[in-house]
């Protein structure tokens, strides 16, 4: 076993062991911090595969962006003393069996398939090639995904806004009700 193999196994453990806590921890804050380790492990596996740009993008977008958002939301929405009923072992049986079945099928496929000879070449820097592809053959998806991102962020900002105008609506509704009462009397 070479040093590269050892690094792979270490990174795989860094990915999968915290993922168990992401799934199983009854405390959602612990799950969030374990998600950090899992995402770090995936970034390491990207680097192991020679995908340098993706490894850094994973660090910046997932750990720097998505994870911070998740942790902020966890801390803003936690009801104190209300331990989530997530740890109920009984409710985990059916999902567990289903996930286990999917896992068995996937592992059979993964180990039983002949994937072909991996004629590996040395990993090259990928950033320039990815950028060139974005500007040539992937120009339409690239622009489209930026549009999707803009729409999603505007949508998120609208969703999260405090509902304004409810007071006026309430007052208007009350005024209508009193007017109706007056008419009836």
């Amino acid at each position: 076993m070479t040093a590269a193999d050892l690094i792979f196994y270490a990174l795989a453990a860094l990915t999968l062991v915290p993922a168990l806590w992401v799934v199983g921890s009854p405390n959602i804050v612990h799950a969030g911090f374990n998600l950090l380790l899992t995402l770090l492990g995936v970034a390491g596996l990207f680097a192991w595969l020679g995908a340098d740009f993706l490894a850094v993008a994973q660090l910046m977008v997932y750990i720097g962006g998505v994870l911070v958002l998740v942790l902020f939301t966890v801390m803003m929405t936690r009801v104190p003393q209300a331990r989530e009923a997530d740890s109920g072992a009984k409710r985990a049986i059916l999902p567990g069996l289903f996930a286990l079945g999917v896992l068995v099928v996937l592992l059979l496929v993964a180990t039983g398939t002949h994937w072909g000879a991996p004629a590996l070449t040395d990993a090259q820097p990928t950033t320039a090639e990815i950028g060139a592809n974005f500007m040539t053959s992937y120009i339409f998806p690239f622009e489209y995904v930026s549009l999707v991102l803009l729409a999603a962020l505007i949508g998120a900002a609208i969703l999260i806004r405090e509902p304004r105008g409810t007071e006026e609506d309430d007052e208007a509704g009350a005024a209508v009700e009193t007017a109706e009462e007056e008419v009836q009397s």
Binding site: T2, D5, F8, T15, L16, A19, V22, V23, I28, G32, L35, L39, V42, F46, L49, A51, F53, L54, A57, Q58, V61, Y62, V66, L69, V70, T73, M76, T77, V79, A85, D86, A92, P95, A99, L103, L106, L107, V109, A110, T111, W115, G116, P118, L120, T121, A123, T126, E129, I130, N133, Y138, V145, V148, L149, L153, G155, A156, A157, L159, I160
Partner: protein, 103 residues
Amino acid sequence: MMDVGLSHFVVVSALLFCLGLFAVMKRRNAVGILMGVELILNSANLNFVAFSRYVQHTIDGQIMATFVIVLAAAEAAVALAIVLAMFRNFGNVNAATATSLKR
């Protein structure tokens, strides 16, 4: 143990996918469900990059993984906005209690 190859990455990705699937089905906390979705997306990304390295010898898999990362970020922003709106309206983030679209 044999040398690390494509099948190793597929196995790791399958494990990660099933853990995410389990989290999505088991968790009642909406943020926990979102964490499960992140695990699933990461497992798909791992497969994209691994196949791009071992089989195809082109960079298309990595570009697809970039798109997945971007869309996961957009999805997380919208989903967490929905979770916060849910918390404002229902007082908790339990996916089982959020059964109506308005107050």
